[in-house]
Amino acid sequence: MKITDDSPPVLTALDRPNSYIGRSVPRPNLKRLTQGRGQYVSDVALPRMAHVAFVRSPHAHARIVSIATEAAKKSRGVIAVVTGAELAKVMTPWVGVLTHLKGLKSAPQYAIAVERACWQGEAVCAVVARTRAEAEDGCELVDVTYEPLPAVVDPETALDPGTPVIHPSIVDNLCFERKLDVGAVDKAFAESDAVVETTFVCGRHTGVTNEPRACVADWNEGEQRMTVYHGTQAPHMMQDLFAKHLGLVHTQVRVLTKDVGGSFGIKVHTYADEMATVALSKLLKRPVKFVADRLESFVTDIHARDHRIKAKIGVKNDGTITAFEIDDLTGIGPYSVYPRTSGIEANQVVNLVGGPYTCPNYRAQARVVFTNKNVMCQYRAVGHPIAVAVTEGLVEQAAAKIGMDPLELRRRNLIADDAYPTQSAAGLKFEKLSHHEALAHLDSMMNYAGLRAEQARYRAQGIHRGIGFASFIEVTNPSAAFYGVGGARITSQDGATVKLDAQGAVVVQTGVTEQGQGAEAVVAQCVASSFGVPIDKVRVITGDTDNTPYGGGTWASRAAGIGGEASWQAGKALRANVLAVAGAMLQAKPEDLDIRNGVVVDKATGNERLPLEELARVAYFRPDTLPAGIQAELMVTRHYVPRAWPFAFTNGIQASYLEVDTDTGFVKLLKHWCVEDCGTIINPQLVDEQIRGGVVQGIGAALFEQCLYDERGQMLNGTMADYLVPMAVEMPDIECGHVVSPTADSELGAKGAGEAGTAGAPASVMNAINDALRPLGAATLTDMPFTPEKILRALGKV
């Protein structure tokens, strides 16, 4: 394949003379990474730095009777052995609740378990030593006496009267419950020509970031300050939490985030072992490093998507969808994760089911229950893959039942492209979506009719191929409606500070963070465009709470849409300030001047008037030569938060084409398509790569990934040899297409693109498998991941 590195821009008001908006400029930080010269937290080494390893509970639920630490303390290289009770004197516990999820409850969680361990893998004792290996040696010598307690492992029975209550202080094992009943659901089902009722299961899975979670905490007793090098998505949120639970103020805590080896929502939560590491540094007055090993990652990185959804759809013979109904049950582990809570995922499922369609009748129930497994929380595309699998699985089963083409059934039910603004049955507010245009684009991009013909030809030869679709909506650019209104100190606004340096280049500091998605490139593009310099004159600084505007970081597909807009506005403001100085120097009206390609020019003619470097020289070194009353302000900050809409919804549709080997149950993915609408596209290449990466993460959920637990709450496959992730050979090429419906909430008009791929991929793969197997009379598959065994069972072959 030939690499092309640019797409022709489709521009509007953003089309400044040297605009980078809509161009696939390479990310500025890539050379460092391709040469192995990045700096991940795993790489950080500080003077006097010690390493911590944790003794972790082998039981899903157990009382900690005693911890004997003497032998470990004598082990070579060991500096300290610290129990939960000892650490609790330094760090207070936390409770993961949000007031806008009414009734959500949880129990206090400690950095290291005190009295009870509530899941296999929970830390019960810390060993700090000169090296990680010596710390692990010490862990082997810590003698913990446990009294095993009954473990709650099955969400289905977690609320039964006979099931033990995990936290007696909170009455029962119900964390959160939500019910919704809109329209006339029973009447709609009664008037349907066909009703499909089924149960979907999404396998509990996890993020498997390539770099495990890592932090280095450095308490400086002399400064009374904590510096935390942290592989996180949200440095300011972590600054607040570290300060709060150590009894410090924000100015005493600096969080530094350099390169992060993959995040995907895994690294946006409070982890007990990371909190413990920070507390240990304060306790020991020296730097302490924690890097999870892979086994620790599997039993402590948040899990997600462990849902069982009973679901029902009604449809008329003309294809009209009459009603959706779901009953969602999810087991989230023993604690609601702090501070985002573990109620959001189920809440999202309730919000999103049926979201692309006009159907006004919708009933939903979701129950979130405590179990003695690892905790679950928000992971890339939170709730979307589940809701889309349910909705789109129902839609394609309904289409099959009434004998209608699945795309045609969608055409008859998707919200019309001219119906906006509007809202869904669940009450989601949509500014502007493009379901029909996206569907039409996909139809032609994949040559649907031709593919159906090809499928039929292969079918005649006994080769069983399937085509499956998934329309979807996606939450992006969240306002304070997501967390702030519920009392969480997680900011939805973000900021950018831009400075003209003394050589006429621009330095940008921003609160959004780089997790590899290309946030730094997007910020540079926005500033270069709105200010008017070549992009190589822009340097972006992220991930430092001492040196960036207060911001939320990276989550919920917000960095480009929110951080990009703040950067765009900051660049504009700096341009105005620079032109005020230029006007004074050139005796011209600032409004008659512009900055293009790093030079102040006459706006009308484009004639060069003054290089920025010369302006900076005068402003910084010879301000005495400027007219009286002219003070150059060459550093400005702008912030942005969406206000008109609680979320900028995006939409799209995916298709999967695959072949099922009916003898082995193996699925071969042949091709995947995704058309999505993220509004203004700042960098087409980065958007496409977000889509592709997201699709493959969703395919992992559909075909491979599941955290398996036994009846005692023991995770059975906590290694990468046993927990399967997508590798190159199994993955298809992925073709991306776009529709552009900018949001009017910002000047840039960009919405998020980070999660669309993950949202729709599992459903499209599921539908394609069922499309391949339906003519064979196979049972419909709805229990992800679709392993060869499940496929052979559906075919009745095993």
Binding site: P26, T34, N210, G261, G262, G516, R692, V695, T719, D733
Partner: protein, 166 residues
């Protein structure tokens, strides 16, 4: 326990290195901790993810499945060496241009593995198919890209290198 330490001498990125190492220490930990060559990363520590892939005596190996003491007398090349020598400059440029990396954590191992395939392609004067590229890279886990861009980049370099010789 780490009571046993051994003296080893090896060549790392062209430099002779003599160190005393714990017998239990893996090659990748030795490279990262003793030599501060942090370009080689640790992902799973049990030989599955390929993040720690380095070259030993010309062959790509998992740095987590080989002990440092096994490398006494060996020639080891890491991403730092491959970068500084210019051997993979075209491959790195293709990765950058095609955005074939996001977080970059798998990239040093991915580049070493891809270069192994590309060298074979040059030797045989055969441009590998996309399926062959995917097969060869299947011991290297990337969570970010979905692999498509990596395959594009490797394919482009294969065409340039082999095509250029034909």
């Amino acid at each position: 326990m780490s009571d046993t330490a051994l003296d080893i001498t090896l060549t790392v990125n062209g430099e002779t290195v003599s160190e005393r190492v714990d017998a239990r220490k893996t090659l990748v930990d030795f490279l990262r901790e003793d030599l501060a060559l942090t370009g080689s990363h640790v992902g799973c520590e049990h030989g599955v993810c390929g993040t720690c892939t380095v070259r030993v005596n010309g062959d790509i190996v998992r740095g987590c499945l080989m002990l440092a003491v096994q490398c006494d007398g060996a020639t080891v090349e890491t991403v730092e060496g491959l970068s500084d020598s210019g051997e993979i400059a075209d491959l790195q440029a293709a990765f950058e241009q095609r955005n074939a990396l996001q977080c970059g954590y798998c990239t040093p191992g991915m580049l070493a593995t891809a270069q192994d395939l590309l060298k074979r392609a040059q030797a045989s004067r055969q441009v590998p198919s996309r399926d062959e590229i995917r097969e060869h890279l299947s011991g290297n886990y990337c969570r970010c890209t979905g692999y498509h861009a990596i395959v594009d980049a490797v394919e482009a370099v294969a065409l340039a290198r082999v095509g250029g010789e034909q």
